[in-house]
Symmetry: C2
C-alpha cells in the first residue's frame, strides 16, 4: 500500500496521465457506439467478443469479466434470446454450462471489431519505429515483462 503523498507532480507526467485519460474515454466511447450500432450494450458486446474467441463456462466468463457469476446469467440470457449465444452442456461435468457464440454471434462480433476504427487508423499513421516504441512504453506501463525486445 504505497501511501505516498505525491509532494508535486511533474507537469509532463501530468500531461501524459491526462492524455491516457483521453484515450481511455475515447476508446470507451467508440466501443459503446460500435456496440449500439449492433443493438448491443457495452456489457453484451464485451461478453460476445469474449465468446467469439472460444466457448467458455459461465464461471470462466465471470472471471474474465471480473464480475459475479449471477451477473453473467442475465447477460447471456439476453444474448441467447437474440440468438447470438447459446448454452451447451459440458459432457465432462453436468453442472457446468458452456456459453458459446453462435454463427450469427460470431458474425456480429466480427462486425463489432471492424467498427473499432478509432485506434487502428491513427496507428496506421505512425511509423514502424514509432509503433515499436509505443508498444514498449505501453508494455512497461502495464508491467509486462518484455519478452520480445527488438
Amino acid at each position: 500500500m504505497a501511501a505516498q503523498k505525491t509532494p508535486r507532480m511533474d507537469p509532463l507526467t501530468m500531461e501524459v496521465l491526462d492524455l491516457i485519460g483521453s484515450v481511455v474515454a475515447r476508446f470507451h466511447e467508440e466501443y459503446e457506439e460500435a456496440a449500439a450500432e449492433h443493438a448491443l450494450t457495452g456489457a453484451q458486446a464485451r461478453l460476445l467478443g469474449l465468446l467469439s474467441l472460444e466457448p467458455l463456462p459461465m464461471r470462466r466468463v465471470a472471471q474474465k469479466l471480473k464480475c459475479e457469476p449471477s451477473n453473467v446469467t442475465g447477460i447471456v440470457d439476453r444474448l441467447e434470446a437474440r440468438g447470438l449465444v447459446e448454452r451447451r452442456p459440458d459432457p465432462a461435468d453436468r453442472r457446468v454450462k458452456v456459453a458459446a457464440a453462435t454463427a450469427e454471434g460470431r458474425r456480429v462480433a466480427r462486425g463489432l471489431r471492424e467498427s473499432l476504427d478509432f485506434a487502428r487508423e491513427p496507428l496506421a499513421g505512425l511509423s514502424h519505429e514509432e509503433q515499436l516504441s509505443l508498444r514498449n512504453l505501453l508494455r512497461r506501463m502495464l508491467g509486462d515483462a518484455p519478452q520480445n525486445e527488438e
Copy 2:
C-alpha cells in the same frame, strides 16, 4: 463511417491495439476500485471529479458526461444525500440549478485522484525522454483523427 474491410492488419499494430485495450481495461478497473474505496460508484466519482474543478449547471454536467439530464438528477441526488455535492440556485436564471462540490466533496475528490496510482507510478519509471515520446505518440493518436462529423 469508414466501412473498410481491413484487408490485412499489421501484427505489430494489432499488438499495440491490444495493449491499448489492456491499458483501458486496467485504467477503468483502477478507477472503479478507487471510487469504491470512497464508497462511490464510477458514475458518482466522475461527476464528483467534474464538480471538484468548478460548479456547473445540471445541463452542462449532462453534456460533459454525455448523458441525459434526467440521469444527472439521480446521481446528484445520491451525492447530495451524502453531503458531497449541493444544488445552488443560479441568481441569473431561476430555472437553473448549479451543482457544486461541498468542501467534503472536494476532499473526497482529491483523495480519489491520489488513489489513481496506476498510471502515475509506472510513468515515473520512464525516463524524461520516454515520457516525451509517449506524450507525442498519444497526442498524434488523439489529434490526428479530427472527428468533426456533423
